[in-house]
Assembly symmetry: C2
Homo-oligomer: 298 residues x 2
C-alpha cells in the first residue's frame, strides 16, 4: 500500500491548565514558557496556559468546565461581561489557535490533563481517521506504556494516577517524555524520515461503550459505595461479568452485571463524581492506519 | 508501677468533613448517622459532620480553614452575619461538643482526616500526657500499621494516600477499622478490663522538628521542583543528610542539606501547597505511658 501524502504539521499547540488543578500540565507549560524559542525549532510550537484564572485558584474551573466550551455553539455565542469566564476564554483560545476547522487553525493541538485514575499515559482522540494522531499514539505505545482511547487534529494526553492539586515527579516526567516523543515524530514526519519506516500499522484502541455511575441512595442521591478494591487502579484490565465492581460503605460487594467483558478506564476519577461517572467501560478495537508521508517532499 | 486512676470516657465525638473534600471521613460519618443509636451502646457517641457547607461543595473549606478556628481567641470572638462561615461554625461546634476545656465537653473527640501523602493510619495528638489518646494509639499500633505524631482529649486520625475529592475503598475501610478499635479500647477501659492487661508501655511517636517548603522562583514564588521520586510516598522512612529531596522541573536533583537524619511525613500533601509545606521533618521520641484504670471501678 502506497503511503498517503499529507500536509506537514507546521504549527503545533501545547496547552496545559485547561483544568486548573491538574498540575503536571500546569508546571510543564510554565517550564516551556520559561525557555524562549530561539528561532531554530523545526516546528512552530505555541505553548498556552488555557485557564489561567483556574490555575491561579488551583481549581478545575472557575464558573464552568472550559473543556466543554469548545462546541461550535459556545464558540459562536454572543458574550457579555456576565458570561461565564470559561465561555469568554474559549473564544479567546479559538481566536488564538483556530478558528476551529479553518485553514488558519494550528495543525495539531495537544491538551495536557491529569487524572486520579491509574491510566498511565493515555491519548484520547476523537476520530478513527485522524492518522497523524493515531501514528503519534503508535509511536508513543512503542516507547512507553501508552493507551489510546477514541471517542480532528486535537488530542488530549491524560496521565495518572495523580491527585488533583498535587504534582508528582514521575507523572510530570512521563508527561514531559510524552510531549517530547510527539515532537520527535512530527519532526521526522515533516522531514520525510518516515517514507520507509512508517508502514501501515494496526493500533489497538478502546472506544467508550458506556459510563457507570456510583451506587446512590434512591432518595438523597448520595453515593453509597466506593469502587471495589479489586477494580481500583486496574484501568484497561478486562472486567468480566460477575467481577466485583463496588464495595458499599456497609460492606456489601456489588458485581458487574453486564454480559460482555469490557475494558474499564477512568476508574474513580475525582472530577467525575459530579458528572455521575464512577468509570467508563470500553470495547477494544483494531484501527488500521495507512502509511503516511509529508506532502512537501514529493 | 501502680495503674493511674482516670475518669471513664463516657462521651465521645466522632467528626468527619472538617475538611469537606476529605471523603473517607465524610462517608464514614454519613454511614454512622444512618444507623440510629438504639440506647444499648456502652459509650455515648455523638457523630458530627463538621463543615456541611464545605462537604456540599466538596472543597476543603468555604471561607477559612475550620481546623484553624478552634483557638480560644476565635472561639470567643464576636461574630456577625459577615463573619467567615467556618468561624461561626466553630462556635456552633464548641457549643455542641464543648465548651473546650470545660466539664461539659466531650471526653474524647476523634476528628477524621485524609491526606494525599502515604502516611497510612496516623494519629495526631497534642500532648505527651494525654494517656488515654496515647493508649489508644498503642492499641491501634499493635493491631494495624499505625503511626503516631505528636504536636487534650482531641486527636486527629489521618489516613492516606487518598486524593482529595475521592474516596478509595481501602482507605475508607482502614478508617472504619481505626474508629472501631478506638471504641473497643474505650469500652474495655470503661469496664475495667485493662486493670491487668494494660501495663506501662513505651510508645514511639514522631514530633515535628521543622517544615520544608518546595523550592520556588525567587521573584514569582512559583514552585520550581516536585518531591523527588525517591522520597515520594516514603512517609515515616528515615531521611539522611544528602538524600534526594526534590527533582526540579528542569531535571536537577536537590538534596537534604540538614545534618541530622529525620523522619519525613505529610510528603506532598495537596492542601499544604498554599501553606508552603512540601513535607514535615520529625524526630522520633519514646513516650512512656503509665498503666491506666478507670476510676469508677475502685
Amino acid at each position: 500500500m502506497k503511503a498517503v501524502a499529507m500536509p506537514t504539521v507546521s504549527r503545533v499547540a501545547v496547552c496545559g491548565g485547561t483544568h486548573g488543578n491538574e498540575l503536571a500540565g500546569v508546571y510543564l507549560v510554565r517550564e516551556r514558557l520559561k525557555r524562549r524559542a530561539d528561532g531554530t525549532e523545526p516546528v512552530s510550537v505555541v505553548t498556552v496556559m488555557s485557564n489561567p484564572r483556574a490555575v491561579q485558584l488551583c481549581v478545575r474551573y472557575v464558573e464552568t468546565d472550559l473543556n466543554r466550551c469548545f462546541t461550535r455553539a459556545t464558540l459562536s455565542a454572543p458574550v457579555s461581561e456576565t458570561s461565564p469566564y470559561e465561555m469568554i476564554r474559549s473564544q479567546e483560545l479559538n481566536a488564538l489557535l483556530g478558528p476551529k476547522g479553518s485553514a488558519q487553525a494550528v495543525d495539531l493541538l495537544c491538551d495536557l490533563h491529569n487524572t486520579t485514575a491509574n491510566t498511565g499515559l493515555c491519548l484520547i482522540t476523537y476520530s478513527d481517521c485522524d492518522w497523524i494522531c493515531l501514528h503519534i499514539c503508535k509511536h508513543l505505545q512503542a516507547r512507553t506504556n501508552t493507551s489510546c482511547a477514541g471517542k480532528a487534529m486535537h488530542k488530549s494526553m491524560e496521565i495518572g494516577p495523580q491527585p488533583h492539586s498535587v504534582v508528582r515527579s514521575v507523572i510530570f516526567s512521563a508527561m514531559q517524555e510524552g510531549v517530547q516523543l510527539m515532537m520527535d515524530w512530527i519532526c521526522q514526519f515533516n522531514s520525510g524520515g518516515f517514507s520507509t519506516t512508517n508502514p501501515c500499522r494496526n493500533l489497538f484502541a478502546v472506544c467508550v461503550f458506556m459510563n457507570i455511575d456510583y451506587p446512590r441512595d434512591s432518595e438523597t442521591h448520595v453515593i453509597t459505595a466506593a469502587v471495589h478494591p479489586n477494580l481500583q487502579d486496574r484501568d484497561f484490565c478486562l472486567l468480566h461479568p460477575g467481577d466485583p465492581m463496588f464495595l458499599s460503605f456497609s460492606g456489601e460487594t456489588l458485581r458487574y452485571k453486564g454480559k460482555e467483558a469490557l475494558y474499564p478506564f477512568f476508574i474513580n476519577e475525582g472530577a467525575y463524581y459530579e458528572k455521575g461517572i464512577a468509570l467508563s467501560l470500553a470495547r477494544k478495537r483494531r484501527v488500521e492506519i495507512p502509511s503516511v508521508r509529508s506532502e512537501t517532499l514529493r
